[in-house]
């Protein structure tokens, strides 16, 4: 699976919620190879302002159409630049990068917090037609535009919000013990803030369910060359989030 550099035209760029956009680009070479959990590394400006690329998870890849989509939140300069892209503008993209999720399971539970739900959209589609459940957490009702993106692929959608405006009040991890006790899952996939993933890993271990998590670190190269993204791994071995991950077995990194 070679990593490639492409000048990808924008096919569609839509706002799906407040400050959340979905960007679809034409890059057949990436689309045909991509697996869920992998990411692309986008150049957001042709000047050196900002200088570095921005990593975004692949939220959809359509090998037939040759398109790859990302779902991103506008949080700073780089994503604000990205938001200016119009149809047919060309984006400089490296991809697909990193190691994706392992699909060997029959009753998975997907757990996503915030933008961690973006790569899981792709994963859910990929795992179809397995019976699928997703546990999603957001701060308020406003973040639950994700429901729409999961309803076709998932049989059951469990929702928590910090303020209780939709679903159960609290965090995903508060709802998790109950779900796991009800049982039946043979795999957990988690993506979201690190504290959430750590708690998921503990519970997964307790319930004896194999668990994969997707990590985030600040990245310069995206290909394992700069060591800006490494995290502590098992037995003191460092892991590169950009190439050894972003997806890891929970016990590799926690």
């Amino acid at each position: 699976m070679p990593k490639i550099l492409v000048q990808a035209p924008v096919v569609q760029h839509i706002t799906i919620a407040n400050l959340i956009n979905k960007l679809t680009m034409y890059m057949p070479g990436v689309a045909v190879q991509a697996v869920p959990g992998q990411f692309i590394h986008l150049r957001v400006s042709d000047s050196c302002q900002p200088l570095l690329r921005r990593p975004l998870s692949i939220a959809a890849a359509d090998a037939a159409k040759g398109t790859v989509s990302v779902i991103y939140r506008i949080v700073g300069t780089g994503t604000a630049r990205l938001a200016e892209l119009k149809t047919n503008d060309v984006v400089d993209v490296m991809g697909p990068l990193g190691t994706g999720f392992d699909p060997e399971c029959s009753r998975p539970l997907l757990i996503g917090g915030g933008m961690g739900l973006a790569p899981l959209v792709f994963l859910a589609r990929w795992l179809c037609p397995r019976p699928l459940e997703v546990l999603m957490g957001g701060r308020t009702e406003q973040e639950l535009f994700w429901l729409e993106l999961y309803k076709k692929t998932c049989d059951k959608i469990h929702v928590t919000t910090d303020d209780g405006s939709v679903g159960q009040r609290g965090f995903t991890v508060d709802a998790l013990p109950g779900l796991l006790a009800a049982g039946g899952y043979d795999r957990i996939y988690g993506c979201g803030p690190r504290p959430m993933l750590e708690k998921i890993a503990v519970l997964a271990c307790r319930f004896g369910i194999p668990c994969q998590v997707s990590l985030e670190e600040h990245m310069a190269c995206g290909v394992g060359a700069c060591l800006s993204c490494t995290c502590a791994g098992k037995a003191g071995k460092r892991k590169k989030v950009c190439t050894d991950g972003p997806v890891f077995w929970a016990e590799e990194v926690f």
Binding site: L5, C48, L52, A225, T230
Partner: protein
């Protein structure tokens, strides 16, 4: 008779630095190109002048904790802290893979003590290693780092110890965080350096005004990228005018024009660092661009650029 472009171009771009024969003057900057193969899918490794690998230490190091990079205007700060698997792992795992290619491999080394530099250099005197580059300028580790590179006596001690321990060519990488770069260049030349390379990163800092915490886990880090280019060009010019040994220039090179600027300032070769992160094909594009510049200017050899700045222009 058909012109053999390949031959012409190899000839015009070939350089020799401290006995290291390179097909082009464009090298990788240590720490930005991993162990040489991470960019394999983007760059034809055989077209690189020389590969300078990540700073290597005697024992494995896990580097600094917390966030390690921060973006700054036209630049970046890093505080990797010399994470590396140690010299034995390098020799066992990385070097054999690099040996497949027809490219000189230069090992950037950092010691905690003068002796460690010597030991590292001795251990690396092995087939497949073309030279060592002494990193006496890493701003991101407490020992074995910038302290050696900002004090003339320590720098001289490191260089002469290494020279006594190896017959490999010794390149000394200078820190820009000094008052007098020319004096430092002369010191390491006198101590036996075969070449110097500069600049390493400028010591910098960024603070997140919302959390009030430093952006980098290590508080301070090294500034690289286009932002530092004017400082780097000036230091290369000053150093090249102060010594007779060849100078490898780096610091913010993004384009062939930048590379030519360093060579005119006095660099016999250049290294590309941060640019790799922005454009994984940077090295090959820069190499092609230098060649195109030579052709456009009617120059037969890239060596003709070296030190060609015209002060009375």
């Amino acid at each position: 008779m058909p012109v053999n472009n390949e031959l012409i171009s190899s000839d015009m771009m070939a350089v020799e630095i401290a006995g290291i024969k390179m097909k082009t003057p464009v090298m990788t900057a240590s720490g930005t190109f991993g162990f040489g193969l991470e960019y394999e899918e983007f760059v034809d490794i055989n077209q690189i002048g020389a590969i300078v690998v990540k700073g290597t230490t005697l024992l494995p190091r896990s580097g600094n904790a917390g966030v390690r990079i921060a973006e700054t205007p036209a630049g970046m700060l890093n505080s990797i802290g010399l994470e590396n698997p140690g010299v034995e792992a390098f020799l066992a795992a990385a070097l054999p893979k690099l040996a497949q290619y027809d490219v000189p491999v230069i090992v950037n080394i950092a010691g905690n003590t003068v002796q460690e530099y010597g030991e590292l250099a001795k251990r690396l005197e092995t087939s497949g290693v073309a030279a060592v580059e002494l990193n006496i300028s890493c701003p991101n580790v407490k020992q074995g780092g910038i302290a050696f590179g900002t004090d003339c006596d320590s720098a001289a001690a490191v260089v002469s110890t290494v020279k006594a321990s190896t017959s490999l060519p010794v390149i000394v990488k200078l820190s820009p965080n000094v008052t007098d770069i020319a004096a430092m260049a002369q010191t390491v030349e006198a101590a036996g350096a075969d070449a110097i390379s500069l600049i390493n990163t400028l010591l910098g800092m960024a603070i997140n005004i919302h959390t009030r915490a430093p952006v980098l886990g290590n508080v301070v880090g090294g500034l690289s990228g286009p932002a530092v280019k004017p400082v780097a060009v000036r230091m290369v010019w000053q150093a090249a005018n102060a010594v007779k040994i060849p100078v490898i220039g780096m610091g913010g090179i993004m384009t062939a024009e930048d590379a030519v600027e360093f060579m005119l300032a006095g660099a016999s070769a250049v290294a590309v660092g941060t640019a790799n992160f922005v454009n994984p094909c940077a090295i090959v594009e820069i190499t092609a661009g230098i060649k195109a510049y030579l052709v456009a200017k009617g120059l037969a050899n890239v060596g003709q650029l070296v030190g060609g700045v015209n002060l009375n222009g």
